[in-house]
Amino acid sequence: MTASMTCKVAAHGQAGPGIFILELKAAALVSAAGPGQFVHLKTADGIDPLWRRPFSIHRVNRRRGTILLSYRRIGRGTSLLARRTAGDTIDLLGPLGRPFDLEGGFTTAVIAAGGLGAAPVPFLLDALRRKGRKAVVLWGVRSKTELYCLDALRGRYTSIHIATEDGTEGFRGRVTDLFGRLASEFASGSGFRGFACGPMPMLKALQPLAAASGFPWQASLEERMACGVGVCQGCVVRMKNRQYRTVCADGPVFDLAELDFHD
C-alpha cells in the first residue's frame, strides 16, 4: 500500500560534489519498500517547481526506521531539496513502482550502473545479501569525483568494478565497455541475473550486450513524471510490441529485452 506522508529529515549531508544523501524517518516504508522502488517528493512548499520529484530508494535503515535517498543537485527541485536540514519535514508518496524481481533461480547478480543511476544499488545489494546471493557491480561514471557511497557497495558476496570515462579511476571507458571486457567471466550464462540502472543511452547500448550475455536482464528506467502513480499516462516508454508502459507504475523496472529504444 502506497501512501502520502510527511516525513522528518533524520540526516542530510553531502557525499560528493553536488551529491547528497538524505535520510528520512519513514518507518512504514522500511518494511513496505523493495529495491528498485522510488518515492515522489515535494521539493517546494509552493508551486515552483510544480511537480514532485522522483528518487530511488538508496537504502533502508531498519534499525533507525529510515529510508535513504541519494541525489545529484541539478535543477531547481534538487536545489530546494538540498537546503533541507535535519528536523525539517518533507511530503512524500511511496513506495512507488515495481521493485526488481529477485525471485527464482540465480546465484550471482550482475549489476551495471551508470552515474547516479547507481542510487538504488545499495538497497539492491542489501536485499541480495539477505537472500545469500553474490553480486558483481559494474559502475561507470564520467570521473572519479562522481563516485560515492562506495562503502555501501563493498561487502560480503560483492565485488565491484569501476569505469571512468576520463580514466581517473579503474577502467577507462564506459560501463558497457567494461561489461564487454568482463563478459567472459559471465560466459557460462547460467546462474546469473542482470540488473541495469542508468540513463537511457547507457541502457540502449547495453541492450545488445545483455541479449548476447545468455542470461536475463532487468533495467530500471527514468522518465519525467507528473503523478508518479500511473494515473496521468505521461511517463511512458515503448515496448518491442509497440505498446506503451508507464515507468512509474508498470516500471520503473522492466525486462531490458522488451524495451524499444527507438531513436
Binding site: 500500500m1 502506497t2 501512501a3 502520502s4 515535494k42 508551486i47 515552483d48 517547481p49 510544480l50 511537480w51 514532485r52 508518496l93 522518465e223 519525467r224 513524471m225 507528473a226 503523478c227 508518479g228 502513480v229 500511473g230 494515473v231 496521468c232 499516462q233 505521461g234 511517463c235 511512458v236 516508454v237 515503448r238 509497440r242 505498446q243 506503451y244
Partner: protein, 306 residues
C-alpha cells in the same frame, strides 16, 4: 451545517468537487490515498470506441506554475472500459461521469450509448476540446456547428445528463457555449487545456514529441476564470469550472465567477488527496461565514471592484 450539495443538469452531487478527466485514471488508481466517496463525483479518462495507445513519448513537460501534456486520449476503449474498469467502481459511493470522444459525431454517440447504458454511469462528459489528437477533440470544439453536431448526437444517444467540455482555444467561447446549449447539453464544463509548447534548449528539440500540447495547472487559472465568467453571461446552463484549482480558495473563485461545481486535475499529481481537502476547505469556509448552502456562492461575484 452547510449544505454542500449542488445539482448539475439534473444530477445531484454530494458536493461541488469532481476530479477532471485524465487526471484520476479510471477512478480507482488513487484508492489507496482517500475514499472517492468524499467527492461530488469522478470523471473518467476519455474513453473512445477503440483502444488507443496515445501519443509518442515524451508526453509531459513542466512549465512555470503549469505543465504540458500530450497523452492523446490513451485509453482501453469502450469494450474493456465496460468490462474491466467500470465494475471496479461499483462500490464507490459517488457520481461517475464518463468522458467520451470519437473521430466522428457517430462515434461520440456510439461510445455514449454504450457507456450510458451501464447503470453505474451517472452522466456523460463530451470531450470536444482535446488539443492532443488530430481528429475529434479541438477540431470539433473550435467550431460552433461541429460542437452542436456532436452535442446533438450524444444528446440523442442518452437520456442521462450530457456535459459538454469546452476548449479555451477559441476567439469567442460564448458562441461555442450557445451552440452546445442549443443542441441539448445539460451542462458545460470548462476549460480543457490551453494550447502550449516548450523547447529543450539543450537538445534543441521540442519537450513534447507531438510538439504542441495542453497546458494545465495554476498558470491557466486566470484564463479559466475569465472563460467561466464569459460563458456564464452567454448561457443559462449550469457550469463546471476547471483550470488550475489547487486550494479551496480557487474553488470559491470559480463558484463566484459562475460555476456550480468544479473539477480538479493537475492538483492530484501534487497532492493525491487534494480534492478532499478542497471539499473540507469549502465546508469550513461556508460554516465560518454562516453560508447555509454552497450554491449561494454560485455567480455571487459583486460586479463592482472594491
Amino acid at each position: 451545517m452547510t449544505d454542500l450539495s449542488v445539482r448539475i443538469g439534473g444530477l445531484g452531487l454530494r458536493n461541488p468537487v469532481l476530479t477532471a478527466s485524465g487526471t484520476f485514471g479510471y477512478g480507482t488508481e488513487y484508492a489507496g490515498y482517500f475514499d472517492a466517496g468524499l467527492l461530488g463525483g469522478i470523471v473518467t479518462k476519455t474513453v473512445t470506441l477503440e483502444p488507443r495507445e496515445g501519443n509518442p513519448m515524451p508526453r509531459l513537460a513542466e512549465t512555470p506554475a503549469g505543465m504540458l501534456n500530450s497523452i492523446g486520449l490513451a485509453n482501453v476503449g469502450i469494450e474493456r472500459f465496460l468490462s474491466e474498469k467500470l465494475p471496479a467502481l461499483e462500490g464507490l459511493d459517488t457520481r461517475v461521469v464518463v468522458n467520451v470522444a470519437g473521430n466522428t459525431a457517430e462515434e461520440y454517440a456510439e461510445v455514449t450509448s454504450r457507456a450510458a447504458g451501464h447503470p453505474r454511469v451517472d452522466a456523460i462528459e463530451v470531450n470536444v476540446s482535446c488539443p492532443n489528437v488530430r481528429h475529434g477533440g479541438l477540431a470539433f470544439g473550435t467550431n460552433p456547428s461541429a460542437t452542436a453536431e456532436v452535442t446533438a448526437a450524444v444528446r440523442a444517444a442518452t437520456s442521462k445528463p450530457v456535459i459538454v467540455k469546452l476548449t479555451p482555444n477559441v476567439t469567442d467561447i460564448a458562441e461555442i457555449a450557445r451552440a452546445a446549449e442549443a443542441a441539448g447539453a445539460d451542462a458545460l464544463s470548462l476549460i480543457n487545456t490551453v494550447l502550449g509548447m516548450a523547447i529543450d534548449i539543450g537538445t534543441r528539440r521540442p519537450l513534447i514529441a507531438r510538439r504542441t500540447a495542453g497546458l494545465s495547472g495554476p498558470a491557466i487559472k486566470p484564463i479559466a476564470i475569465a472563460k467561466v465568467y464569459q460563458v456564464r453571461q452567454a448561457v443559462k446552463l449550469p457550469l463546471i469550472g476547471i483550470g488550475g484549482i489547487m486550494r479551496w480558495q480557487d474553488a470559491v473563485e470559480f463558484l463566484l465567477a459562475g460555476a456550480t461545481a468544479v473539477q480538479t486535475g493537475t492538483l492530484h499529481f501534487l497532492e493525491p488527496d487534494g480534492p478532499v481537502r478542497i471539499v473540507e476547505g469549502l465546508r469550513r469556509y461556508c460554516e465560518e461565514r454562516g453560508i447555509a448552502s454552497v450554491s449561494e456562492l454560485v455567480g455571487g461575484m459583486i460586479e463592482e471592484s472594491s
